[in-house]
Subunit: 246 residues, 2 copies
Amino acid sequence: VSVSLIGAGPGDPGLFTMRGAELLGRAEVVIYDRLIGHELLDLAPPGAELINVGKSPGTSRPQAEINAQLVEHGRAGRRVVRLKGGDPFVFGRGGEEAEALRNAGVDYEVVPGVSSAFAAPAAAGIPVTHRGMATSVTVVTGHVGDQSAPGGVDWYSLGRAGGTLVILMGMSERARIASELIGSGRDAGTPVAVVHWGTTPHQQVVRSTLGGLASVELPAPSAIVVGPVAALDLGPAPASGGAGSS
Amino acid sequence: VSVSLIGAGPGDPGLFTMRGAELLGRAEVVIYDRLIGHELLDLAPPGAELINVGKSPGTSRPQAEINAQLVEHGRAGRRVVRLKGGDPFVFGRGGEEAEALRNAGVDYEVVPGVSSAFAAPAAAGIPVTHRGMATSVTVVTGHVGDQSAPGGVDWYSLGRAGGTLVILMGMSERARIASELIGSGRDAGTPVAVVHWGTTPHQQVVRSTLGGLASVELPAPSAIVVGPVAALDLGPAPASGGAGSS
């Protein structure tokens, strides 16, 4: 295998997988995103070439360029690690990178990671499912267009379906999302938690309700948790260091 | 911290977290479920007490008894690892165990794991989200009652909402679930993949459609993936060893 698409996990380096660490430890090229725990890069061997393809929002390389880099280094027979935040196959565009490698005939493998969609709520003490509260959890991106657009999100039906919602990349659209969910029949008093940089030392958690979500001010990256479980506080998580923190 | 609720991941021991391995390596008591990768138990120190609380379906200990064991060993000040398949806070009843520990005043922490809800599809080459195919993924349990029961699943709205569905513990109810999803408007030709023991050497994958799901014969544990992404085959995953397997 030449290229390994590896989930870096949600931010806490302790949540990286053993297989990921093993592969990173013998990488020759590491192509990484902005949202990974940078302590992880210390696991790469001293001589490895480190390539940041997502320095900051707005300056990220286009996906096609990243795909081309993966193919180029893979074709050169180098041991390439593509380190992606969370899990490569959950809103990570890892599927597109896998397709590019397959089409180019480059061997690759996929190493799942701990998804921040579940780990960020956990770090705030929130189980995304809980007996008597939620029998399903939907992870959805907030930064695509409305339901009428192709590939858009049908917030009305998601709202109707009940269960826990975890909205990633949704802060800029939070007022509209809250309004659509309330319009679907979700109570404005439905608990909401917003988890910024979950599992990391920068973690911040704000508790609110659907009706109050528009007023929550936290920058990206933040996960928005909607549903009765968002009122739970069953922490601590590893990175927070003790009961009752966050 | 006395008790660590740790996600063991989907089965492949390489998908265990580094933090989980560290804690397991100095555990005095390990309380584990049936569905964990048993190679993981080798990470426990030689003298550790290993307690299997879920030997086989039907003989699992009641949750209250497991909670009581966690509290008892935790109160005794022993370093307890509670090893749960997948992620403790995603259909793992970890929230109930955390509540029991909190109510008893026992220190604990939660260490997320790689969820089989995402890793089993990945091991079959399926990204649960993919550009132009799915902007959301819903993970749902198939073994609760119908939508009219309290805490039940509203299959109709989930079907309407589009996006990828990953149904855990749903094989015994697969005919009813398929019928409800088709009734909600999902096309009978919607791709379906059933992934048995994903990420392990026992992995089996059967591809079908919603209309054909009732005829798929695979035993538990199996994850059912419903949606256009279920037709993708962007493997391999680590455990499968090479391109085009599964």
